[in-house]
Amino acid sequence: MGSNGVFVKRAMVIGGGIAGISASIDLGNGGYEVVLVEKLPSIGGRMLQLSETFPTLDCAQCTLTPKTVETGQHPKIKLLMYSEVEQVEGKAGNFVVTVRKKAGYVDWEKCTGCGLCQQKCPSKSPSEFDRGMGLGKAIYTLSPQAVPNKPVINPSHCRYFKEKKCRVCEKICPVGAIDYEQQDRFVKENVGAIVTAVGFDLIPKESFGEYGYGEVQDVIDGLAFERLNSASGPTTGEIRRPSDGKIPKEVVFIQCTGSRDPERYMPYCSRVCCMYTAKHARLYKHKVHDGQAYIFYMDIRSTGKGYEEFIQQGMEEEGILYLRGRVSRIFRDGEKVIVWGVDTLTGKKVEVSADMVVLATAIVSQKNTKELAGKLGIKTDDYGFLTEAERKLRPVETDVEGIYIAGCAQGPKDIADAVAHANAAASKVQGLFAKHKDV
């Protein structure tokens, strides 16, 4: 109960990806106040990094932006951006969550989102958002359509923080919003229910010794390919390989990189790679008509509506060559990247001199999901994914009343399933709130 015995009917959603946003909008529309906590400077999550989504090949930004804008403008949703959950106390109906608002060194009250600081910032470092495919500024927003469209400074890339030089952004800002002295702040939120939708990460390609330990430049992972294909990405949407910027004519896609591999990496199936690899190959062929795409696979898992047809269309219309077998080794040979794989359907060893290789790396939990779960008092499995209350019948609840889970934080899933999951979590919250009478 709240401080005066009242069950607080406010919800907190941790994570501003598509699952977090969907849950927040549902709860907001249901009439409840929502506090959305997001650790990045803008909401949108992984979908912001994507170029097009399967099976419709809709532009990811076009589908996502209406949702992020709706969230940003919703009267019931309060955004706590660039923030992380520090501590959780209490129980259902009266959680007291301490949130750390990280110092972004920009006063968002004053900032108008004009973007001048980003234009003029002289510092360029490999951008995490672009998966190292391109360079980003020290003061940045994640994308041109970011919601909120206000920047933060990354002190480890910023010349002022590293060498006490520059200060260009401060000089150029028309409203004086730059504040290098800003500190982390703590706020306390009193909520009745929490939805945890902190999303996923990819196993780093540096983990794979047989694929070069990440040192072969033209071996990239799926999200990096998304950035190459994005109009807002480092190559403005042209498929160019990282090492020399040439357009690759022979591209090898490898599914199950680090998935279904109990001996060395993750034993589970990452669920979305079959579909997004087919999507990548098709998008590649749309842009490079005389290129050849090879996909090394073990099985094709295309279970959703329209998915199997999508895969078959790729084979029949785009001439993508599917080779059933794994890849044992990848190494650089001059300008080419040599791929040693096998086609088990003919039984033959296969060698491809590729221009570029795209690895469909395994989906793993975010690094601090386990720590967050500890703060919430909920469980994770051996791989850091949040554990549901019952594997089949209670997929969005946890063992703790009032705490719910949504999206890829519970396990790998595609966008449609993540949204359904989030809608379910919001519905459970509303069910919980309905049980307690208003005062």
Partner: protein, 137 residues
Amino acid sequence: MKIELTRQKVHNEFAKKVELISGQNLFACYQCGNCTAGCPVAFAMEVGPHEVIRYTLLGLEDEAVGVNTFWLCASCLQCTSRCPKGIDIARVMDALRMVVLRKKERKDHIQIPEFPEGFLEKVPQIALVSGFRKFLS
């Protein structure tokens, strides 16, 4: 080309013997072919190591021992080190060799009288000892 499977044929005595000598579970192989993809001598094999394992699991003894695959295996352990299911394929290859060589009507894979002139003097002892271990009964 057609094979008829029954519960006696699948995982039969031959397959069980191979599993016993190698200590590996053949059912664990999901035929990803990683072993064949990384094998340095697969270019000379009639079928890759993953196929021989498949033949063995299906109980097809004649097909399994009739190929040159395990005779060409150099026991370099590249397959074992990369198998995602943790199967020691090199041990399975050695087990297949042993199954053939331990039979009563065995035919040794190499015949010493057939060596060319001067071969035995030129080749280092390691090659002879290991070769005789692997290819003679």
